[in-house]
């Protein structure tokens, strides 16, 4: 059945599907960066689930999605290191700001620097920069990102 523009339940913006690649072109642990309407967006396959982020760090505008994948690194107490959620954290290639790919929230200040809840809306403010997160679907064998019109 042909794909129709749909309404976001939490927003009135019209959402359009954008075919990024085939599933076989985006293996677990890999990413694809594409441009559409002047926006650069990165799509990540994290352990079989797909997530899309705006390829622009809210800090200084670096190509965030070109950053290295890393883990959640914490310390139960000083001088100890604990790693989990390997491959689920994206580290900005410039100043090293870490973002949770699954939520778009920053690791160091998740309440203030995080993804907007409306999936296809990009919002940034000077004081509390947000990174945009998009809905990603797999339709047949295609990876599709939903963009606002």
């Amino acid at each position: 059945m042909p794909y129709q523009p749909t309404q976001n339940s939490r927003d009135t913006a019209v959402r359009l599907p954008h075919v990024v690649c085939t599933v076989s072109e985006l293996a677990a642990g890999q990413r694809v960066i594409f441009s559409f309407n002047g926006l650069s967006i990165g799509v990540f396959n994290v352990n079989g689930a797909y997530h899309a982020l705006l390829n622009r760090c809210p800090h200084r505008g670096a190509p965030l999605c070109e950053g290295r994948l890393t883990a959640s690194v914490t310390a139960p107490q000083p001088y100890s290191y604990s790693r989990d959620r390997e491959g689920e954290i994206l580290k900005c290639p410039w100043h090293g700001w870490e973002f949770d790919i699954l939520t778009g929230r920053s690791v160091f200040m998740p309440e203030k620097i995080r993804v907007k809840a409306y999936p296809t809306t990009i919002e940034q403010s000077q004081q509390h920069p947000l990174i945009a997160k998009y809905d990603v679907s797999v339709i047949a064998h295609l990876v599709v990102v939903w963009l606002s019109k």
């Binding site: 200084r60 505008g61 670096a62 190509p63 070109e66 950053g67 290295r68 580290k91 290639p93 410039w94 100043h95 090293g96 000077q126 004081q127």
Partner: protein, 360 residues
């Protein structure tokens, strides 16, 4: 030669490097070439075995070749710095030349400095007229440093002399006066950059020894520059060298207002102990010291930036730097978005054009 009116962005802190030690072979005598071949490049400044980004560089600069130092990629600089950032003039401070300056064998150090400078002229300055060089000189031995300044100081694209904060003496010490005299002869400012603190023969980087982590060392940098700044002022360096300019690269600048105020207070009370210091310390700073923007301060609240720039006389004393291709790089957009419009042109280019005489 570029028309000065068309120069909109001067980047005062860019770091290039050789790809491999063999790059220097054509510029060395056989004796020192064999030594370099046998022992490799001196690499002695790494206290922490750690850095930011990826191996200290922007992680988006490796382009799939992880074994190639981005600082050695001429074409990468062209694309990601000169084109993407619309930089008109980029002043090069060599990467990994700092270890040369903690060698105790000063003749070998001088030979490697000469080779690095000659290689830079042949492979960067001669290939693209937008590059300028801050000369690496063997500052452990002031006579050899002067020799290198005299050898290349008249090259049209050599615009400064590159020194590093780590040393056995503070830079106002009269031991360095011959170096400043040579700079004056050639119209060259000093470009001072952190490095080598606590390394080799240099003393520990703090009054109480060594920090444990790279993040601490990153935060400690202002004190390296504060130490040299008070030395320059109270030793009377600027009374002896009235045209000398010192550029502080990557020093941060949020500390500058406090330093100016405290130095003025101290001078008023203690002036008679150093009567050759004839002016307010802040006057010397206005006339002789220039600060660079990267890593750009992030005050909280952000609106405090206007006050900070006013308090440090940033309209006159601050110059843009990107630190490309290091991980804490700042693009020129930082100036366009965080600095009041009336002083942006000063910071992006005009202050540099009046600080480096050979750029004008």
């Amino acid at each position: 030669m570029l028309n000065q009116n068309h120069i909109r962005v001067v980047d005062t802190d860019v770091h290039h490097n050789i790809r491999d030690k063999t790059d220097l072979y054509p510029f060395l005598t056989r004796h020192f070439r064999e030594r370099l071949d046998e022992y490799g490049m001196p690499r002695s400044t790494d206290l922490f075995s750690s850095n930011g980004g990826y191996r200290g560089a922007r992680a988006d600069c490796f382009e799939g070749e992880e074994d190639v130092d981005p600082r050695s990629r001429f074409e990468l600089f062209d694309k990601k710095l000169l084109v993407d950032c619309a930089v008109d003039i980029a002043i090069l401070q060599g990467e990994y030349t700092a270890p040369l300056l903690s060698l105790v064998d000063v003749e070998y150090s001088a030979a490697l400095c000469r080779a690095f400078n000659d290689w830079t002229i042949a492979h960067w300055l001669d290939r693209d007229s937008r590059y300028r060089l801050a000369l690496t000189v063997p500052i452990q031995d002031s006579a050899l440093a002067v020799q290198e300044i005299n050898r290349l100081g008249n090259h049209p694209a050599v615009v400064a002399v590159y020194l590093i904060c780590g040393n056995t003496r503070l830079y106002g010490n009269r031991y360095f006066d011959p170096v400043y005299a040579a700079c004056a002869d050639h119209g060259l400012p000093i470009a001072l950059h952190f490095s080598n603190e606590g390394v080799g023969m240099n003393p520990a980087p703090t009054a109480s020894g060594y920090p444990s982590y790279y993040g601490e060392m990153y935060l400690l940098r202002p004190q390296f520059y504060q130490s040299h700044l008070s030395s320059f002022i109270f030793e009377g360096t600027f009374e002896k060298f009235s045209e000398l300019k010192i550029v502080f690269l990557e020093s941060g600048f949020g500390w500058v207002p406090s330093f100016r105020w405290r130095a003025n207070t101290a001078w008023k009370a203690l002036r008679a102990q150093t009567p050759w210091v004839k002016k307010l310390p802040s006057d010397y700073i206005d006339q002789h010291i220039r600060f660079s923007t990267q890593p750009f301060e992030e005050p909280d609240p952000p609106t405090a930036m206007s006050d900070l720039l006013l308090w440090m006389n940033g309209a006159q004393t601050l110059m843009f730097s990107s630190d490309f291709p290091h991980w804490d790089f700042d693009p020129p957009e930082v100036i366009a978005t965080r600095v009041p419009p009336e002083i942006r042109a000063n910071i992006l280019a005009k202050n540099a054009l009046s600080t480096y005489p050979k750029l004008a």
